[in-house]
């Protein structure tokens, strides 16, 4: 069964950090440039995220993720470059259409923002096991019931995707067409998805019973299988990041008051 998570254990510095630290890093990398209103800060965070990812030897895995949004950024670039209101300075004249400087700069700003968010998320996602993330949150007071729901997703979705290929094969062997005109493909959708839906609902019934007999609803304080893995560096990083966020908010308020 294929795992959904992008996490990879490389025994790197990022792997050793507490998930909480990395989550705060994500928040800081998004909020600080937003509050300070300075694009160069976002670029700085981008480069820093990239260095971290390179240091953990997972930079290769960010490329497909960047590719997904890269395509959308490309359409933004084209549309804003051609049509943005306030476009005046022509940069590239291509016969009937022309790219304008203002629109392209605006699109560049969007691209920086988007890639910054993606890279800082990658720092968290590529170096943290989802279950560790949830466990750490539960330790901090997050509902353990919702925490269970979240972790179980990473097991359930690959299971359902497996079932999906079984059902596709079964329906095809009964002669169902999955290719052809739009109408044929539309008609194929319901017979494909309804067996998955029905069987997963029936599964929920069994899963609910299985959980309840194991004391899922017990009100007692929950204990943890793994020990908290916080290292001293974590606290230092958290303090720096929080100070950074507070400073950027302070800066924003100052500029407003002026």
């Amino acid at each position: 069964m294929k795992s959904m998570s992008l996490y990879e254990e490389k025994h790197s510095f990022l792997n050793k950090l507490s998930p909480i630290t990395k989550m705060i890093y994500v928040v800081a990398a998004i909020l600080i440039p937003a509050f300070a209103g300075e694009k160069m800060l976002a670029v700085g965070f981008m480069i820093f995220s990239m260095l971290l990812l390179m240091h953990s030897k997972v930079i290769r895995r960010t490329f497909p993720i960047l590719g997904v949004s890269g395509f959308v950024v490309l359409t933004v670039l084209i549309i804003q470059g051609l049509f943005r209101a306030g476009n005046e300075t022509v940069v590239l004249d291509m016969g009937p259409v022309a790219f304008y400087k203002e629109g392209l700069l605006f699109a560049l700003g969007i691209a920086i923002n988007v890639f910054n968010i993606i890279l800082c998320f990658c720092v968290l996602v590529l170096s943290t096991k989802p279950s560790d993330m949830v466990e750490e949150l539960v330790r901090k007071g997050f509902s353990p019931r919702i925490g269970y729901v979240f972790t179980s997703l990473f097991q359930l979705i690959p299971q359902m995707t497996d079932r999906m290929s079984t059902i596709t094969d079964a329906q095809k062997s009964r002669g169902m067409e999955t290719e052809g005109s739009l109408m044929i493909r539309m008609k194929a959708f319901l017979p494909l998805i309804s067996p998955v839906i029905m069987s997963s609902f029936i599964d929920t019934k069994e899963r609910a019973i299985a959980l309840e007999v194991r004391g899922f609803n017990a009100k007692n304080k929950k204990t943890f299988l793994n020990e908290s893995t916080k290292i001293p560096v974590d606290n230092v990083i958290i303090i720096i990041l929080v100070v950074g966020i507070v400073c950027s908010i302070g800066w924003r308020i100052m500029t407003w008051l002026r």
């Binding site: 992008l6 997904v68 993606i118 919702i146 299971q159 995707t161 194929a188 319901l190 929920t204």
Partner: protein, 204 residues
């Protein structure tokens, strides 16, 4: 069955079955999106699970399922989609409320729910699109409309709203019609499982 509930649809007391419905719903969203991709359909169809969960277990479960759906996308495929968790949560709430007041019993009600859900999505997605993408959605037809509206010298907000309406509303209508068909055909024994706020006589 619905409408006779004594408690409010906002009850946070859900039973275990309603809770494990959430991962199933997210899984269904995921599969719906995959199938739509495999069959090359021009719709997303990625909120079937959210809407079904909302119909079965109410707006709160629907909202959690929707939000978690996008968190999972964010953690496994596309980090930006995390922010659209709010959109999916809104869809869950709208559909859950409509189902609670009995709209999901016929085609007319489902159509209305689809339109309302679609516009709830537009209402929340448009500002997010403006912040993160300058107004476009990355969907071919929507973005063509965006460019067309923009070239008429309209504001980016109007262009972005039109873009989002084209992308979201037809999709939500199809999804809700599908969901109604599925919801009406679910076995009764399954339906009663998730109704944690319907009145139960206790023997002890």
């Amino acid at each position: 069955m619905k409408g006779k509930n004594n408690n409010s649809p906002w009850s946070l007391q859900f039973n275990t079955a309603a809770l494990v419905l959430i991962p199933a719903a997210v899984g269904i969203n995921y599969i719906g999106k995959l199938f739509a991709g495999v069959l090359k359909l021009p719709l997303w169809l990625d909120s079937i699970g959210t809407c079904l969960a909302a119909c079965l277990a109410g707006p709160v479960v629907g909202a959690i399922a929707g939000a978690m759906n996008n968190l999972i996308y964010g953690l496994t495929m596309d980090p930006i989609s995390t922010v659209y968790a709010f959109t999916q949560a809104a869809i869950g709430i709208v559909v859950g409320l409509m189902a609670y007041y009995g709209a999901m019993k016929n085609v007319k009600g489902a159509l209305l729910t689809g339109i309302l859900g679609g516009f709830a999505a537009v209402l929340i997605s448009t500002p997010l699109n403006m912040i993160f993408w300058g107004g476009t959605t990355g969907n071919l037809w929507g973005d063509l409309a965006y460019a067309a509206v923009l070239s008429q010298n309209a504001s980016t907000w109007i262009a972005s709203t039109v873009d989002e309406i084209i992308v979201d509303v037809p999709d939500k209508i199809v999804v809700l019609l599908l969901v109604m068909g599925l919801y009406k055909n679910l076995p009764k024994s399954l339906l009663s499982l998730y109704q944690s706020n319907s009145k139960i006589e206790s023997l002890d």
